[in-house]
Amino acid sequence: MSSSPLHAATGTTPAPDAPIQIRARGRSFLALVLSPERPLSNWLESLDAQIARSAAFFAGKPVILDLALLHADDEGLDTLQARLIERGIRIIGVEGGNPEWPALAQWDMPTGLEGGRASGAVDIPETTEAISPVDTPKSVSNGETRIVDASIRSGQSIMHMTGDLVVIGSVASGAEVVASGSIHVYGSLRGRAVAGVGGQTGARIFATRTHAELLAVDGYYMTAEEMEAGLVGLATQALLVDDRIVVQKIG
């Protein structure tokens, strides 16, 4: 696969008598093979749940999509690739299925890879114990901001795994807002706010009135009980300092 650029490089080397030695080193990555199951809508839901629990695990991992369990006329197959890409999953190869399927016409088919060896099932680690800050992305916002122009009711869960989440309204007790980036609540935050889910230690949680049940950044959390009583009801930000959630008054 890398042979032609190598030749080109040697060919354009300006010194004919002492050609520069091109150095190539091998590096192997463990690619994940994902096998979507029918119905695709349910599978995507389960994937979202898994990402919510272990987002850092998928970040930056090469993924091979195995379509063997799917049929040509499965609902949602045509948009599956786009759905996965918007979830930040990097597809480097597609196998199984048949490239002739009409549903795959719009797919951007990666060229096949060679030389892969099966290495068995991979345990997907859960956020609560598995994220090591070393191999997680450092940027606080890695994508689009999502803005929700409504209050979040008890029992609702708003998830945004590709950037910051802004709520123009309140987050009720028993509701939860989850984002890979920072969370902004222009209203009362009474429920749970979970920021920096992809391992972004710099993510923060802002709220105009803080009565939160739980604040979490990158897996570190603080319950309502642990929060300083003097800050309750005020405009605050919550951030991670030395692996501890710190709540500060703002404005």
């Binding site: 629990r53 029992g155 007790s173 509701a175 049940e213 319950t223 309502a224």
Partner: protein, 271 residues
């Protein structure tokens, strides 16, 4: 040997959650290790009534799905150290509870506790069935009115047919807890009498809990009435019920209206 107790009713609003908290706290005060579990996924309230809502991090669903260990989700009560709560999730729906998952959690709880008190959701659907499935004993919470009695009858039928014990050909021990009993209205014949309820449901009476402001006050301050005001009439009824659950034979007191001059004057004025 751990006992699994389900507090159930069919009908909503009869006092299941209040009774779970009050009975759990009453049992725990005898020194037994007690855990109360909220099975009302999506509409959890037991944490509020127990005053633990500010300490919830993980819940039953997290444990069932393997996201958290049981020890991480259990919240120990601050007032009574033998009492723990396992809260439900508010943001998931009932389908997140699997029977295999619940079975695994129950098995683990049986090793740690003497009493496992399950607060059932209202209704007769999956959530209610999962709450009662592992039960050794059931407290059927009933109000003295026809719709509540009929729903309780339905639930008793399910306890006898769809539980693990029923499938093994054994019986779930069933007890009737009459709640929101209003002595004044009972005296005026405005409610079903205790005899009528017992005759229809024909299961042993565990206790009669009078309708009381104390219960409401206890819920609002986030404390089981048996902890916040142990001397009150409803708390005494729950303490006695807990002793009966432990096998003591005690006579059940039917609450009577206390007719003071003040009450009489007041009644006259509003009448």
């Amino acid at each position: 040997m751990a006992k699994v107790l389900v507090v159930t009713s069919g009908k909503g609003g009869v006092g299941k959650t209040t009774s779970t908290a009050a009975l759990g706290a009453a049992l725990a005060q005898t020194g037994q290790n007690v855990v109360v579990i909220d099975f009302d996924v999506g509409l959890r309230n037991l944490d509020l009534v127990m005053g633990a809502e500010r300490r919830v991090v993980f819940d039953l669903i997290n444990v069932v799905q393997g996201d958290a260990k049981l020890a991480q989700a259990l919240i120990r009560d601050k007032r009574c150290e033998t009492l723990s709560i396992l809260p439900a999730s508010q943001t998931r729906d009932k389908d997140a509870l699997t029977s295999e998952g619940v079975a695994k959690v129950m098995e683990e709880l049986r090793e740690k506790f003497d009493w496992i008190v399950c607060d059932s959701p209202a209704g007769i659907e999956r959530g209610a069935q999962l709450a009662m499935y592992h039960a050794d004993m059931a407290v059927v919470v009933t109000n003295p009115e026809v719709s509540s009695v009929r729903d309780s009858d339905r639930i008793i039928g399910m306890l006898d047919s769809t539980t693990e014990r029923a499938k093994r050909g054994e019986k779930v021990e069933k007890h009737l807890l009459l709640t929101r009993y209003d002595p004044g209205r009972a005296a005026r014949g405005e409610m079903l009498s205790t005899e009528d309820v017992l005759e229809i449901l024909s299961i042993p009476l565990l206790g009669i809990v009078p309708e009381s402001e104390e219960v409401l006050r206890a819920s609002n301050v986030g404390s089981p009435v048996t902890l916040s005001n142990p001397e009150s009439a409803p708390a005494r009824a729950y303490f006695e019920a807990a002793r009966r659950l432990q096998g003591e034979k005690l006579e059940v007191h039917v609450p009577v209206e206390r007719k003071g001059l003040f009450d009489w004057l007041f009644k006259k004025r509003v009448a």
